[in-house]
Amino acid sequence: MGTRCARRGGPDHCFAFALLILLANSVAVSEPPLLDEFRANVTEWTTGAGTVVFTREPTGEGARGTRRTFGFDATTGAWFSAYESSVALLTPEGVYYSGTPDEIAPSPDPAPGLAGAMSRLIPMALPLRLLQTTEGLVDITRDADGNWVIDYFGFAVRDRKPPLTRTMFSPQGKPLRFEMEANPEAGQEAEAYDYEFHPDSREPLLITNDRRHHSLAPSYQLVEIQYFATSRPDLFTPEAVLQIAVDNRMWSEMRRNAFAAQSSHSSRGTDPGTPIPYVQHRLSRAGWPLIISGIIVVAIGLIALFRARMGK
């Protein structure tokens, strides 16, 4: 929080932000006065935005990381994420599905309201979600430059305090900045950064560059992006999303197998995050047959020996 206050303009800003948190935590906030004006702007910004589907793949060598595909329909607010092991879909009708590439089923949305918007990947998903719901919204204001400032609560599980989140847009609807307070209970630090977008992405559905820096996984790059001029409800069905997830799983498994084959010829166990794979050597494969053969040979020998002795 201190870092964000310092970056955003000193003690006054810090005090205002703290006051905002207190207000938001104390009573239910009525609809912000600028909500209608903002919604009118959003409608103007996103008219004819259509649909986007894009895929990210891990970069560099290594078995870690999987191919993942995301989709977002600006008209209906439908979205999906298709990973190797998990699939989530919000249909144009507002039904939430989750599961694996083998099967998905309707289930409770773990992050309803603004917290569940796909805004980390597509910042415009947040204003579009605001056209449908204000759940989680704290306030909408304009700063001295006329930029739109949206404060809302992020996702929180059960009794945890939801992190206060802020997203800023220019008067023309360009996403500018993201801020999120620290989440000490979850061991997560505060975040604050100006948006950077992939050069192949298009307004208003700009796609952010991957900012995640996991020590255990490679970074990701955008390998495919498709824009459709209109709403595409056919892409947001369980069947369509499962097919993508299955394809992604096959891709990821092939990559992992290729890495396993490669690493079996090199040193193993150097990566602390990966258990040491057990490799069965030819000799150990032959171990039991050898032992059994040995027992038989010894038994035959003993029999022969006893017979010889008894024969004397």
């Binding site: 078995a63 870690r64 999987t66 993942r68 995301f70 979205w79 994420s81 990973y83 190797e84 092991s85 998990s86 699939v87 989530a88 989750s98 289930s107 409770p108 949305d109 773990p110 992050a111 917290a115 569940g116 796909m118 980390r120 990947l121 992020g154 996702f155 599980v157 059960r158 945890r160 992190p163 989140t165 999120m180 989440n183 000490p184 979850a186 061991g187 997560q188 975040e191 995640r212 996991h214 020590s215 255990l216 996984a217 992992r256 602390p272 995050g273 990966t274 258990p275 040491i276 794979p277 057990y278 069965q280 150990s284 171990g287 039991w288 027992i295 038994a299 029999i303 006893f306 017979r307």
Partner: protein
Amino acid sequence: MNIQKLMAMGASLVIALAAAAQVAVPPCCKYLWEWPAEENPNGACAGLEATSCQTGAQNVWGEDPMARMKRLWVEAKCFLALLESPAAFYRQDCSDEPPAGGHFIGVLPNGQCCYAVGPEHNLEIVPLGTGYWVRDCIGNCNEYQN
């Protein structure tokens, strides 16, 4: 002692050894996990990433019978959990209802269960493959068995 008795004793010995090898290894269900220190100010089940390996139970020793004799290897299923806030790890009593949409990560030493929870597009579970093997699960089985 005649030859029949000797052979019968030998066969009994082999059968007994084989049976002992089957039952001498206790059921084992251990969770090996790793939360990188630099993103882990609060200890386990915190931060934005983790590796978890869930070892198998008895009789999942793979195709190599020698591994059972050596007692050095046990099959494990490992995965990475990669999160982006607001998705988070969450710990709770294992007897409680799992959080909605939660991905089970593992059982912690204090007996609590750890889950990854959040909007699905902010979290990713990356399988590292089954058939991995880790060293020496024996000795921890009772403590971590669930």
